[in-house]
Symmetry: C2
Subunit: 320 residues, 2 copies
Amino acid sequence: MSRPVILSSPDSIAERPQPFFDLRMKMHVAARQVEDMLEQVLPKPAGLHKRVHEAMRYAIFAGGKRLRPFLVLSCANLFGVESPRSLRVAAAIEALHTYSLIHDDLPCMDDDDLRRGRPTTHVAFDEATAVLAGDALLTIAFEILSEPATHPSADVRCRLVAELAKAAGSAGMVGGQMIDMEAVEHPLGYQETVALQRMKTGALFEFCCEAGPILAQASQNDYERLRNYARDFGLLFQITDDLLDAVGTVESAGKAVAKDREQGKATLVSILGVEGARQEAATLARWNPMARMPRICGIFLYSFLIATLRTFDWPKKRIS
Amino acid sequence: MSRPVILSSPDSIAERPQPFFDLRMKMHVAARQVEDMLEQVLPKPAGLHKRVHEAMRYAIFAGGKRLRPFLVLSCANLFGVESPRSLRVAAAIEALHTYSLIHDDLPCMDDDDLRRGRPTTHVAFDEATAVLAGDALLTIAFEILSEPATHPSADVRCRLVAELAKAAGSAGMVGGQMIDMEAVEHPLGYQETVALQRMKTGALFEFCCEAGPILAQASQNDYERLRNYARDFGLLFQITDDLLDAVGTVESAGKAVAKDREQGKATLVSILGVEGARQEAATLARWNPMARMPRICGIFLYSFLIATLRTFDWPKKRIS
């Protein structure tokens, strides 16, 4: 194979081997740590309103991969950020991500009954409770970030709040979701679909990767580079998700599939075709020797993660 | 009439007359200022996702009384806070309040078609857009608070974010809404109903009144006193709202009425009776010579506001 090409960091290649199982182990350990933190920061079911606490916990403790928290922790680790701080940010982002899943699954939105192989929150509880649990998880994300335990500097905490709000709001995730709803009636072209995905899922990935340099009060340059990495990662993630929807099974995806096609939504897969989308993903991940995409499951996401995070050893050297 | 009794501030009575029309004029001027600020901070409808911007604006520019912003501005004014700062907090709280109305009106929640005399957001747009517009308004509230234009001190901004998140989340407004949904099947007693209202509407009123001393970096004592004032005010407000629902008309309320009775919900009015609730309100507002409650419309709220805000001239004197 030819010399790997680094899209986001052309001048920072490290060739240390890092086996796949090591990443899976790291993700597993990180997921446990994040779940411990979530256990601490989320309210225990109590009081006359305990049903909303139960729904929040039902949705968040559903055995997710905790990919976004892992991105937060990995990127923060590059700068030597203390783990209680990055774990709090990771918990906040997982709360916010979970809110978006609960609301997206509602009957008036994507109308999904299954999520991570279990009944969705509005099925397990009811629609009103699901709406409220989503609202509460969105709200607590900002509460977690704003508290002194997240970082001693209030400037850092405020920047985290501001960036997460931008990523999650109408200029980011919510705006992307709006375009996605509209796309049923007005199919989009390639560039529009890329723009939609950058808002709908990419903006939150960007926040995950930016949180590390923000917590470390790193240079603007470091910050920009991790943001660029996040953009490539986000697009690759979305192609995988679209491929899962197009050619996966309910078992492999852990949720309903073929929804996009049924709803007539334009996705990168419907525009480029399955093979074209795979090639686009391969182009994004082509510097990664493991990115052979033998199957459409998450494996090349993890490979991408290995390859690209490896190239980001440079900030650690710069900081230490 | 005997000497007025001040519940929240027993040692700070000022007897200056302040006519009712003056308050109405002040509220009108404040509402215009807050709407100008909302115009600045809310996104203009643009892009493929402009529908969510339109829905956010439809819901927020609906001719509301802007009572919560007025509380923010009035309490901040006691401490001489610069108005661009308090106006930003007022805009944030109005965005958050509007989100709660949009979500509460959804078919799966209170299922209301009418709000402020107009079709509710999910009727004027659709349910999915209403959910998203609510999510975006909740999110932008935290974005507004976290930005340096709100206050030069990041500590102050972080405290605002933290307090608003607590007031709006599962320990506050959302928790109260959850209890309210459950109350259809499990009618509550008086104390439980008071606790519910303190969470559902009172917590946000508390934030409105606390924001001033937070912006002014006032003493804990000043902060506590305004919080106590807000508690009384919130309870009085809720009794008015329940009375409007019980004996008002669609025209006087600007929204559907008799919903609580139809749903079999316990309210302070259903527990105390209409006369009992009026007397409870009179007790709360009894130091106010204007609080004769000749009718159940908002007049005694405003009177309450006059009487109690007047008693809070002391912090201004203390600060200047």
